[in-house]
């Protein structure tokens, strides 16, 4: 079997940040086409802060309109923007000292080429046609290229701003995790037996943490497809961004015969909740070979991907609590 594809996952959430009075005021003004600074002991700070950065004293906010024009005090030309940058074609990040402000703010300058950028050049704020009550609603251009804009003021105060943070990760499965996943594709549970303690870990993390010993392929062992429920809970799903579950279901840990570590994260939707109990004996029924999917398996989470069709009671007598008491996980 060839090497399995690396595990990929995206960590994504649309964060909602309440702004408080100062950032709120700034974003409200920004929505309405104006940039504000705040007065602080004789200076105008932009972007505005809630407090004096030198003394820590809370400021009684006295807002001062600044810009929309200003001067670039330092800059960099980004040849290869990231997906998170304000522009996807080359642009500049710059420290812009807006007219009326004493401190520069960092922002993006859309210029045709690096040749249009220089320290000291004049730039002017431009507002995006679609605005989201965030710092990204505005950007800068060389002053000569600036267009006149008329913005319809919005209603009310901005009290919240959103930031969708989405980060992607790709990591090849470590060698032992590869073998575990391949084993599942072949309808087998492959764990590892510690050469130091003899304990069998499934799925293994490639080492025995108690003895601090790394394990290799020669430590691989096949563990039975049948085992005992050692712990479970019934989850009533909480709805959150990305949640796919809606109905209560069982999440169980099953100690397969031959393993010293329960196989966790076994989600069971098709056995009656009222009949489920610790101590019951279950057998894993695998999906037909062509329908097994291990793409969800990565190096950190346990679980068995989408390989097991279902867990079926074997009909054997329950294992008494005392025998499984030490496997509470």
């Amino acid at each position: 079997m060839s090497e399995l594809a690396p595990a990929s996952y995206t960590l994504e959430y649309p964060y909602t940040r309440t702004t408080g009075p100062v950032v709120g005021r700034f974003l409200t003004a920004l929505r309405d086409g104006q940039i504000l600074g705040v007065r602080c002991r004789g200076r105008v700070l932009c972007p505005p802060l809630e407090f004096d950065p030198e003394t820590g004293a809370t400021l009684l906010p006295e807002f001062v309109p600044v810009g929309p024009g200003g001067r670039v005090v330092a800059w960099t030309w980004i040849a290869e923007p990231t997906r998170k940058h304000p522009f996807q074609t080359p642009f500049a990040f710059a420290l812009v000292l807006l007219d009326g402000a004493d401190t520069p703010l960092v922002h993006a300058v859309q210029a045709a080429s690096i040749d249009e950028m220089s320290t000291g050049m004049r730039v002017r704020a431009q507002w995006r046609p679609e605005r989201r009550q965030a710092i990204t609603d505005v950007y800068f251009v060389p002053e000569a290229k600036a267009r006149e804009q008329r913005l319809e003021p919005g209603k009310g105060e901005v009290e919240m701003t959103e930031h969708l943070i989405s980060l992607s990760y790709t990591e090849p499965l470590s060698p032992h995790r590869q073998r575990y996943a391949k084993g599942l594709l072949e309808g087998r549970f492959v764990g590892q037996k510690s050469p130091a303690s003899g304990k069998v870990y499934l799925p293994s993390k490639g080492y025995d943490p108690i003895e601090r010993v790394r394990m290799t392929e020669k430590d691989d062992v096949v563990v039975a497809n049948v085992g005992t429920v050692v712990a479970y809970t019934v989850i009533t799903p909480v709805q959150y961004y990305g949640q796919k579950e809606t109905e209560p279901y069982i999440r169980a840990s099953i100690l397969l015969d031959g393993s010293d570590q329960p196989l966790g994260q076994q989600d069971i939707h098709d056995l009656p909740i009222a009949e489920f109990r610790a101590g019951m004996r279950l057998r894993a029924l695998f999906r037909p070979a062509g329908e097994r999917d291990v793409t969800e398996i990565d190096n950190r989470w346990g679980g068995t991907g989408s390989v097991i069709e279902r867990w079926e009671p074997t009909g054997e007598a329950d294992v008494p609590y005392e025998k499984i008491a030490e496997h509470n996980w």
């Binding site: 960590l11 702004t19 960099t76 420290l95 401190t103 960092v106 690096i114 990204t136 993390k205």
Partner: protein, 353 residues
């Protein structure tokens, strides 16, 4: 500064590599075993363990919990964790050992930058309202800093290239370096800009790696190592998170830490600085008042390998190695965090009985 004599008695690091094929915990396990073997200590003789790492590098909240497997926690251990470079874990350990009731501490730093996209992750260190939504990444901020240096007449592009050429050449002698080669300054200057005035080679590589040290107090240290490397002091300081409030041509926080540590009370033979971007060396040399006689980044520095969350601790290891091996008597290790050297830590090390 320190009333208690605390020394590094053993140290280890993994090579910096583009992609480590197994877990952070497995790296830490190897290093822990190496340190215990070298000193003959049992795990139970380590009174305090502290690690530095970053969940966001692997994109998993609570990722740090898995790293506990690496240094061992059975039977239960007294340990803690900072979501920072291992150099700050060393700070905690050094502080903790002052109290006199713990003799030996294990310190680690580890990180795999390979799974994610650091340029997309690190903007989240900036102000959440004003900067993070712009995706303002450390490379871009370093580019701005470089421009500020050029404009202020504090450096020329050639100076940046010279840092790179020297570092990458020195890295060739470092078995743990990831990127090392002999390249001329002129050749470097012919390369296109990436975040002008920075070129790709002015940036650190993306690396996976880990480092660990054992520290011990006074006589215990003398028992455990023939040539303990004494920590004369650790100090760290931070600057504003708002770029507009900072002087990017200087490193006031490094300057302040250096003053607090009285680093110039004696010669500094070697300095390992967290130079992630070549202009940072120019800023730090000046802010720390380093003399020409100080050898800077003989390991090649982070430009040759940048295992984020271990990079600062690796600097400590590199200085400690040279002191232990007699190449240097007194050395300075520097760690940095945040965009354009926002936060800086200095660790002053010295050999001797």
């Amino acid at each position: 500064m320190s009333a208690e004599e605390i020394a590094i008695v053993a140290f280890a690091q993994t090579p910096a590599v583009r992609e480590y094929p197994d877990s952070e915990a497995s790296m830490l396990m190897d290093l822990t075993n190496q340190l215990l073997r070298e000193t003959g200590l049992a795990r139970s003789e380590v009174g305090f363990t502290i690690a530095g790492s970053c969940d966001y590098l692997s994109g998993l909240p609570f990722a740090f919990v898995m790293n506990v497997d690496g240094f061992g926690a059975w039977p239960p251990v007294y340990e803690s964790h900072v979501e920072m470079d291992g150099a700050w874990a060393l700070f905690e350990a050094w502080v903790r050992l002052q109290m006199g009731d713990v003799d030996v501490a294990l310190v680690a730093g580890s990180g795999k930058s390979s799974p994610g996209n650091p340029r997309e992750i690190f903007p989240l260190q900036t102000n959440p309202y004003y900067a993070a939504p712009l995706g303002l990444d450390p490379v871009s901020v370093a580019g701005i800093q470089a421009r500020a240096l050029l404009d202020a007449g504090r450096a020329r592009e050639r100076d940046f290239a010279e840092v790179v050429a020297r570092s990458r050449r020195d890295g060739m002698a470092n078995p743990n370096a990831q990127v090392a080669k002999d390249v001329s300054v002129d050749a470097l200057l012919k390369e296109p800009y990436f975040a002008a005035p920075l070129r790709r080679h002015d940036l650190p590589p993306i690396s996976d790696g880990a480092a660990a040290v054992l520290v011990a107090r006074g006589d215990r240290a003398r028992q455990l190592a023939k040539r303990p490397v004494w920590i004369r002091g650790i100090d760290h300081r931070i600057e504003s998170s708002h770029l507009g409030l900072r002087d990017l041509t200087d490193s006031p926080s490094s300057r302040l830490a250096a003053e607090k540590l009285h680093i110039h009370d004696g010669p500094i033979d070697v300095a390992e600085l967290c130079v992630r971007f070549s202009p940072e060396e120019i800023v730090l040399r000046e802010a720390l008042g380093l003399r020409p006689s100080t050898r800077i980044n003989p390991s090649g520095g982070p430009l040759c390998g940048h295992p984020v969350m271990a990079t600062g601790l690796v600097r400590v290891v590199e200085v400690a190695r040279r002191i232990r091996d007699g190449e240097a008597r007194r050395g300075l290790a520097h760690a940095a965090s945040g965009p354009a050297l926002q936060q800086n830590l200095l660790c002053l090390l010295e050999g001797g009985a």
